[in-house]
């Protein structure tokens, strides 16, 4: 093959061909993503010229960050709190479900995966509206809790607030968990599909019990899937706007709502940019931690 002059020609062609293929996508990524994102940096250090104009002057105004963190730090913390809790809760359900689909699903496996994905094909606003009907003060969930006499317990555990469910942290976390479940299950299933059954059989031959087989084979080999599941769930959850808006109250606002308000209502683009960059920095921290365990481009995608 090396001797073939034709192959040689192809090889030379291959030097610029890849770049030609990459070019349009790169234009998109650089023009619509990288540059606008970088442009947020100077904007976040600027000052609006007038309140209703759009012009800003760059002034190295680091104070924007201090002001934003001072005013909205608790919201930022809350956002990550909600994201962590909903992801944790989701993992508790998603991991066994993924395991069940992979090792007990048999020929139903593709269908089960489909059933996990299906709800996310309906608009998440419609799902949020559905939750408001379910969790409302006169809704069935609260009705059930009352009928079982669990109201006081719920209040005591902080799950209910004054006997309410809608517009509480519980409702927001439930909504987030429901939204993120498919993003948790899919990477886990994909990772587990890469586990060779023969490994498990071999372990069984060596008289490893169920728990040991899980600990020694399934768990370590599903870890990459776990890592990408965490990222794919945490990131959108932390930046969510819809669930806190529909299912939360003013004490459940998340950072996405704040950025939207700063930008569109308070008309404080520099502060909005500062808060967005802080959010991104914190997320990047999580991503860097992930990068140390596995490559970012190895994210198992559905």
């Amino acid at each position: 093959m090396l001797a073939s002059p034709k192959a040689e020609g192809h090889r030379r062609a291959r030097r610029w061909w890849p770049w030609a293929l990459l070019a349009p996508g790169l234009v998109w990524l650089i023009g619509l993503y990288l540059l606008p994102l970088l442009a947020l940096v100077p904007l976040s250090l600027s000052e609006p010229v007038s309140r209703f104009g759009l012009d800003t002057v760059f002034r190295w105004r680091l104070a924007n960050y201090g002001e934003v963190l001072g005013a909205y730090g608790p919201v930022l913390l809350r956002s990550f709190g909600f994201a962590l809790v909903s992801t944790g809760l989701g993992l508790l359900l998603a991991y066994p479900l993924a395991y069940g689909i992979r090792f007990r699903g048999g020929r139903w496996q593709p269908l089960l995966i489909g059933l996990v994905v299906l709800p996310s094909l309906t608009s998440y606003l419609v799902r949020a509206i559905g939750w408001t009907s379910l969790l409302g003060d006169n809704g069935p969930v609260l009705g059930l809790i009352t009928a079982l006499g669990l109201t006081d317990l719920g209040n005591g555990l902080g799950l209910l607030r004054d006997g309410r469910l809608l517009n509480t942290p519980t409702a927001v976390v439930l909504g987030l968990t429901s939204n993120q479940l498919p993003f948790l299950v899919l990477p886990l299933v994909v990772a587990m599909q890469r586990i060779d059954r023969r490994l498990l059989e071999a372990a069984a031959d060596l008289h490893a019990g169920g728990l040991r087989r899980f600990r020694l084979v399934v768990w370590p080999l599903s870890r990459p899937g776990l890592a990408s599941a965490l990222l794919l769930s945490l990131i959108p959850a932390a930046g969510d706007v819809v669930n806190p808006l529909f299912l939360g109250g003013p004490n459940e606002r998340m950072v996405g709502n704040t950025i939207e308000n700063l930008l569109l209502v308070q008309l404080q683009a520099p502060r909005a940019a500062a808060l967005a960059l802080v959010l991104m920095a914190l997320i990047s921290l999580a991503v860097v931690l992930q990068l140390r365990t596995g490559g970012l481009d190895d994210l198992a995608l559905p």
């Binding site: 759009l54 409302g136 607030r161 109250g249 003013p250 606002r253 704040t258 569109l264 209502v265 308070q266």
Partner: protein, 393 residues
């Protein structure tokens, strides 16, 4: 006068409008030939060529703020189209006025015309737009019916010579409540902070309405709102939010919570609650003794509007007392057009509306209503920021 089509058929129309609206379609029909539906449909093609129409009139406004089309009874937009041959794009796309401002701001700030010819916005935003020079004066010389404007809205504070704005409707921010949920009649602003209603109260995201009502409750003057005088009300609101007394801050969406039983009491708007109480007779609207906030939504022409002639036709048409009466009966706010009350009183179907103090404030009500005065640009920024920290923090 009631035709068989409208009758009192209990069928709820797809758009979910109330029976009542259909009946009232006829309230004014005595003096007006209702054009057949077909004709109003045809208006689509004919409009652009009609003499003097000059293309399509684009209006941006709040949702459900006019009588809509009902089977057999075209709404005002369709009838205007049929009457004048002018094609209208009637966009009910303003859900949050401040977000709407953010949407039109880039073009208007750069001196470019926007696609709308007419905007319906609240007076404080009108004042801001006038100050920024982003409006054209209304073609009032070609709007003879403008003389029907009620005296109390002439020379308003937001537009001293009345050159840029003509009121669409005005209304009252007060307290809406569900008597079944509260278990008692409410009497004032303090009831919103009653521990018995904890977590079942909401306030409006519209700062001037929420703060205005609270400040009036604290005995403060809102016609010249001062930052210092507002602090106790801000503090009270902030504490109520932290304690969980206030469940949500809302736009128009307090309505679904009120109907679903998630709210016992809330700050709301008079016309909304009047319309809702047709669905739920337990709903009440209270203008506290301490005062309610009177606001006005006004029609404005953005700078460079392309169809000024059509705007004049529209303004003149909606200021015809007969048309205005129809609109008022549908939305149940305070009509700015003189003669509406008399027209509604003549028809048995709407006579009750003509007696409503929320639509036609009598002297007693009038004395309780206060308008939230102007805030300077820097003052407003300060107010908005504190308010946002309470609603979004």
């Amino acid at each position: 006068m009631i035709s068989p089509i409208h009758g009192s058929s209990p069928r709820i129309s797809p758009r979910g409008r109330r029976r009542f609206l259909r009946q009232l379609g006829l309230a004014a029909a005595g003096t007006l030939v209702t054009p057949p539906l077909l004709q109003s449909c045809r208006g689509g093609g004919g409009g652009a060529d009609a003499p003097g129409a000059g293309g399509e009139l684009v209006i941006s406004t709040f949702p459900l703020y006019i009588d809509g089309d009902e089977p057999g009874a075209p709404g005002s937009v369709a009838r205007f189209r049929a009457d004048t041959g002018i094609q209208v794009r009637y966009l009910e796309d303003i859900n949050d006025m401040r977000q709407f401002f953010a949407r039109i701001q880039p073009d208007l700030a750069a001196g470019r015309p926007i696609s709308q010819d007419l905007l319906v916005l609240t007076s404080w935003l009108a004042e801001r737009l006038i100050g920024l020079g982003w409006l054209d004066p209304l073609p009032l010389a070609e709007v003879p019916n403008a003389r029907n404007l009620i005296p109390s809205l002439r020379d308003p504070s937001w537009d001293p010579q009345g050159r840029y704005s003509l009121p669409w409707q005005s209304g009252i921010a007060g307290i809406a409540y569900n008597i079944k949920a509260t278990g008692r009649e409410l009497t004032g602003v303090d009831d919103l902070f009653d521990p018995a209603l904890k977590g079942r109260v909401s306030a409006l995201l519209e700062m001037r309405d929420t703060m205005g009502l609270l400040m009036l409750g604290d005995g403060k003057d809102i016609s010249q709102p001062s930052w210092d005088a507002a602090q106790p009300s801000f503090d009270r609101l902030e504490k109520a939010r932290r304690d969980g007394q206030i469940r949500r801050f809302t736009g128009n969406d307090y309505q679904n919570d009120l109907l679903a039983g998630n709210l016992a009491a809330c700050i709301g708007w008079s016309g909304d609650v009047a319309q809702l109480s047709l669905d739920d007779p337990d709903l009440r609207f209270l203008v506290p003794e301490s005062g309610g906030v009177l606001w006005a939504d006004v029609m404005l022409m953005p700078k460079g509007a392309r169809h000024q002639e059509a705007v004049a036709r529209w303004l003149n048409w909606v200021y015809d007392p007969v048309e205005a009466a129809r609109i008022a009966a549908a939305v149940q706010y305070i009509s700015p057009v003189e003669g509406v009350q008399e027209i509604l009183a003549q028809d048995p179907a709407t006579a009750e509306l003509a007696r409503s103090p929320l639509m036609f404030p009598d002297a007693g009500m009038q004395s309780r209503l206060k308008v939230f005065g102007p805030l300077s640009e820097t003052e407003e920024a300060r107010w908005e920021e504190r308010f946002a920290r309470i609603t979004e923090g």
